[in-house]
């Protein structure tokens, strides 16, 4: 399995990430870091315990990570949560089903990290 195939599988934009990082090797190195990164789990747990401020911080960081890695789908979801939770955007918050988004992020994150784990396993 190639990195490109992996990206296709997890709803990411391979062209974008390779434009940024130039080589598959570097991408793979950072994908490994992604598995260690706790932003998405942090976001989910902060939301579950009702800590909006922490959830916003985590979402914001997760969004940066996902966009940098060109995880398009996860990036869009975390972006949406970030905007909804951004202090002051009450109207948007009211009209957004954050619970559903968090659920989606949870599913998507599991999907992405499982795929990466599986992928990295084949690389070793």
């Amino acid at each position: 399995m190639t990195v490109e195939e992996l990206y296709k599988q997890i709803g990411g934009n391979y062209e974008e990430v390779i434009g940024r990082l130039r080589s598959d090797k570097l991408v793979i190195r950072i994908l490994g870091k992604f598995l260690e990164d706790t932003m998405c789990p942090d976001l989910i747990s902060a939301w579950k315990r009702g800590d909006d401020a922490a959830a916003f911080d985590a979402a914001h960081s997760a969004k940066g990570v996902c966009l940098n890695l060109a995880f398009t789908r996860l990036g869009a979801l975390t972006s949406e949560v970030t905007e909804a939770l951004r202090p002051g955007n009450d109207d948007l918050r009211a009209s957004t089903d954050v619970d559903a988004l968090i659920d989606e992020i949870s599913v998507e994150y599991d999907k992405v990290s499982n795929a990466i784990k599986a992928f990295l396993a084949t690389q070793e």
């Binding site: 950072i30 992604f34 911080d57 914001h60 969004k63 940066g64 009209s95």
Partner: protein
């Protein structure tokens, strides 16, 4: 308009336009001249001013009436209706004023009608003696009322009512003949009397009334004008029925006024000449008139009898009957049309505006007959009090005519008419005040009863106004408090005057009583007093009571003013309170409206989001199938891509809108070549326009300051919204034109600004006026667009409007269904610095540059982001130092040797110390080389205000995550000199 709606006008032999100029003259003269013209010369005119004074006064009065006629004519050429002054006032000043005007007209017309109807019996008394004085009998205010005479008067009132219900043409012909008889009869009588009597110039001595100032006398005559000529304007109730152009009406009205003045003057002359033998001068005769009986008390008839005997009396009686008849016919007509017009406005029940088959408001005539039934029973003296009041109501009506024409003429910039109307307004004001104030310019006041009638009439008016207000379902009344105050003023003032008149009379009696008492007292006690002593005593009593009266009047006037003043304040408070309640209500409604719109928007939104989402999921499902060919796969992916893009634009719109709504959106002004922005739009749409066969043109005119300070992205957004809408709603074969024009605006230029007008015009389906009004409202979208599929978020125009508002510009829309749409935006921008002028701002082409040997400090809390950014920077040749939060970053910079770091890449959101704070700390470092180090914000937030915040914190630039390497090269090249 009311006359236009008469159902049978055109069908039944063209009765719609049947009034010839002669008919109109007859109506006007007939209404103006009644019983008064034949008795007033002796009872009022001559005692006031004398023969020459009457002539001069009448001429001036006629001139003033011509001013009023010009006002009426100016109005009725614009509102040719049957309602006359009532309708003019309604159209120009609103219903409140129209009510007062109509109420005044009604009183005036009815009073004149009643006075003339009851005058028939007076002639019969002179001609036939007491023939009709049978049946029961009583006295009202000194006037004997007999059953027989009551019956005769009733018969006359009803007779004319019935005649007025018959064919229009018959009535008008009869009226015209009678008017001719009246006018030429008066002229004939004058020549007969002057020719056959031994009158010479000496007969007209004294020229002015003895013992009075001639000027005061003439003024007294002029002041009678509204009373004397009242009715000449009644023709305004027939403006819709003329068989000639309304413009030609003015000479006819002037002729009618002149004819009426001539009649008054000739009858005055006849009165003077008809002096019976045994008197030195007309003055002695007139002074003694009160003591005479029979014909001698009626100088005009007496004069005719002197020269022609009984034939003369019959002749003049014919003329007088013609005068009375024309007045009754004309006023039955005018009053019924007035009631008709008021009823058409649903202020009176619809019963009044029912028409007979001949197009005559018969019910209104029946109503007038019904209320007139009581009149004969109250006697002429009482009717006289009502008649005296008509000067007040006529002054109100003439005043309204003048105010309305003034207002209209000012709007139309007609200075001549405006000037004439001012003269009319001043005259009307004098006419209104003059009869109300006793002893003003030392002429007589109204009778106490007349003041009471004004009070009663005003109170009834207020009551009726209250009723009309209550019944008014169209919110037409209650707009003007001036009317209330005017009516209350009339009530208060007239009641004060009534009190004053009553005490005046009582005190006069008291003086007499007291004098008699003392005279008796002197007699019984046998005290000798000379007549001089008595006279002195009388005089003393007179002055004392006069002082008392003056004091009473003055204090009640002060009291009235105080009451009125507080009433005005109260009404004002009330109006203010009402306005406040209304404002609150409006706010509440608009809040409700917004929340409703938001709910509707959300449901629309969820529909719109679901639609592309369904497409994406559906095609994904299809693409997952094993048997999908690569071609099919590509097609599915294309569709998924399209839907995804649409969804993206939807989300962007929502985010923008929420920014705008929360007031977060800010313009980012940069040096921009505005022409480039427009041209870019052309490039963007050219292909798709061509594909849809739409002629797409972009024109730039007279733009001399093309480089201005402007938010290019936002301007682009505006253009994009407008042009894509134009594209969407223009069918194939249509045209879309974008025009940018700089307008020469010296004022703006002086402030260093350039003013532009940007127009986006299409030949598309256009909008209904209702939708065009709401097109800029957030959450609004055309119903058809939801039906016809995905057309947009319904936010585009609201965003456009908000952006234009932020640019301090204005946007307007010209559109009609099927006639295309044009959006016109006017805005002004600061002209960019002179060095930028004429230059094109070109995004520098990114040239790879070797940054090797340079070191940057990368501040980022997230390991992955740190790694990625690090890799990008290393790829560009940089050496990278890392810091995981703001505190570490500040420490690293502070402890570094100046020149170690070429730049700092600063994440914004970090624990412990965020990017803004860290930047501020660095900027305050003591070492100037370290504190001025280039700092670039790296943030996942890319809204304009995030960029602004970064720059405000002291950073040099801003780059959004995910990092675009090209952009990074650009920024670094700029910040680090090569």
């Amino acid at each position: 308009m009311a006359e236009d709606s008469l159902p049978t006008q055109s069908e039944s032999g063209g009765l719609g336009h049947y009034l010839s100029p002669l008919n109109v003259w007859g109506l006007s003269v007939g209404c103006a001249i009644g019983w008064g013209a034949f008795v007033m010369p002796a009872t009022t005119l001559l005692p006031k001013a004398g023969p020459v004074g009457v002539v001069v006064g009448m001429i001036i009065a006629a001139l003033i009436m011509i001013v009023v006629a010009i006002c009426f004519h100016y109005l009725l050429t614009r509102y040719p209706d049957s309602g006359g002054a009532y309708v003019f006032t309604k159209k120009v000043l609103g219903f409140d004023h129209a009510f007062l005007c109509g109420w005044s007209l009604l009183l005036a017309y009815l009073a004149i009608m009643w006075a003339n109807a009851t005058a028939f019996i007076l002639i019969s008394r002179y001609l036939f003696g007491g023939v009709f004085q049978f049946g029961f009998h009583y006295t009202v205010a000194g006037y004997d009322v007999y059953l027989g005479e009551v019956l005769v008067t009733l018969a006359i009132l009803l007779l004319f009512g019935v005649i007025s219900c018959t064919k229009k043409r018959v009535i008008i012909s009869l009226n015209t003949v009678l008017a001719l008889v009246l006018f030429f009869g008066v002229v004939a009588c004058f020549f007969i009397v002057v020719g056959l009597s031994d009158a010479n110039f000496a007969s007209f001595e004294p020229s002015f009334a003895p013992g009075t100032n001639p000027v005061v006398g003439v003024f007294g005559i002029v002041a009678l004008a509204p009373w004397a000529f009242l009715g000449f304007e009644a023709i305004s109730h027939g403006a819709g029925e003329l068989n000639f152009s309304g413009r030609r009406l003015l000479p006819i009205m002037i002729a009618a006024v002149a004819s009426s003045a001539i009649i008054y003057i000739l009858m005055t002359m006849v009165t003077v000449v008809g002096m019976p033998q045994g008197y030195d001068s007309w003055a002695a005769y007139i002074a003694n008139l009160g003591n005479l009986d029979g014909l001698a008390a009626l100088p005009t008839f007496n004069a005719m009898k002197l020269v022609l005997g009984d034939i003369g009396i019959v002749l003049l009686a014919l003329v007088v009957v013609a005068a009375l008849s024309t007045t009754l016919l004309g006023l039955y007509r005018a009053t019924s049309r007035l009631l008709f017009a008021i009823s058409q406005d649903e202020i009176l029940p619809p019963w009044f505006s029912k028409l007979s088959s001949d197009g005559i408001p018969r019910n209104a005539i029946i109503f007038i007959m019904a209320i007139s039934v009581l009149v004969p029973f109250v006697g002429r003296a009482a009717i006289g009090w009502v008649v005296d009041v008509t000067s007040v109501s006529a002054a109100i009506v003439y005043g309204y005519a003048a105010i309305c024409s003034f207002k209209l003429a000012r709007q139309k910039d007609n200075r001549l008419i405006a000037g004439i109307a001012v003269a009319g307004m001043v005259s009307a004001a004098v006419f209104l005040v003059y009869p109300l104030v006793p002893n003003m310019w030392s002429t007589s006041a109204l009778a106490p009863e007349s003041y009471l009638i004004i009070v009663v009439w005003s109170i009834f008016g207020l009551l009726f106004f209250r009723l009309a207000f209550q019944r008014d379902t169209k919110n037409r009344f209650g707009k003007s408090t001036v009317v209330w105050v005017l009516m209350i003023f009339l009530i208060l003032f007239a009641s004060t005057m009534w009190m004053r008149q009553v005490t005046h009379d009582d005190m006069e009696e008291m003086v007499v009583d007291v004098s008699e008492y003392y005279a008796n007292d002197y007699k019984t006690h046998d005290i000798k007093v000379t007549s001089e002593d008595l006279a002195r005593e009388d005089a003393y009593l007179e002055t004392e009571t006069a002082d008392m009266r003056t004091m009473l009047l003055n204090s009640s006037l002060v009291q009235m003013v105080l009451i009125l003043f507080s009433l005005v304040i109260m009404i004002n408070i009330y109006a203010l309170q009402r306005k406040r309640e209304k404002d609150l209500e409006i706010k509440r409604l608009s809040a409700e409206e917004t929340s409703k719109a938001k709910t509707a928007f959300l449901s629309n939104m969820s529909h719109d989001i679901r639609t592309p989402m369904n497409a994406i999921m559906g095609y994904t499902h299809l693409a997952r199938r094993d048997d999908a060919t690569p071609e099919e796969m590509r097609e599915y992916l294309d569709k998924i891509d399209d839907s995804g893009k649409h969804l993206m634009s939807l989300i962007n719109d929502i985010l923008d809108m929420s920014h705008i709504e929360s007031g977060k959106m800010q313009l980012q002004l940069n040096e921009t070549d505005i022409v480039k922005v427009i041209e870019a739009t052309y490039a963007m749409f050219a292909t798709q326009m061509q594909a849809k066969k739409i002629v797409f043109t972009v024109d730039v005119h007279d733009v001399s300051d093309n480089v201005v300070m402007c938010d290019a992205a936002r301007l682009d957004r505006v253009l994009l919204n407008l042009v894509s809408n134009a594209y969407k709603f223009t069918p194939a074969g249509g045209a879309v034109t974008v025009v940018l024009r700089q307008i020469s605006d010296e004022e703006a230029k002086a402030e260093g600004k350039a003013s532009f007008v940007l127009s986006v015009k299409d030949t598309g389906i256009g909008m209904t006026p209702e939708f065009a009004e709401r097109v800029f409202d957030a959450f609004e979208r055309e119903r058809s667009s939801t039906v016809s599929g995905i057309q947009g978020t319904g936010l585009g125009m609201a965003i456009t409007k908000s952006i234009v508002d932020m640019m301090e510009g204005s946007i307007q829309v010209n559109t009609a269904p099927g006639e295309g749409t044009e959006f016109i935006i006017s805005f002004a921008c600061d002209i960019a610095g002179l060095q930028g002028k004429g230059q094109k701002e070109i995004e520098p082409i990114v040239e790879p540059r070797d940054f090797s040997g340079l070191r940057v400090l990368l501040v980022e809390d997230n390991e992955i982001n740190r790694e990625i950014a690090g890799l990008i920077m290393e790829d560009l040749g940089f050496e990278v130092d890392l810091a995981e939060d703001g505190v570490v970053a500040v420490q690293k910079v502070a402890s570094s040797k100046p020149g170690t770091y070429a730049a700092v890449l600063m994440d914004i959101q970090m624990p412990i110390m965020d990017g803004y704070e860290a930047t501020r700390e660095i900027r305050t470092l003591a070492n100037s080389e370290l504190s001025s180090i280039p700092i670039v914000a790296v943030s996942a937030n890319a809204f304009a205000d995030d960029v602004r915040l970064s720059l405000e914190a002291g950073m040099d630039d801003h780059i959004a995550k995910p990092i675009d390497p090209d952009r990074m090269i650009q920024i670094m090249s700029r910040l680090i000199p090569g």
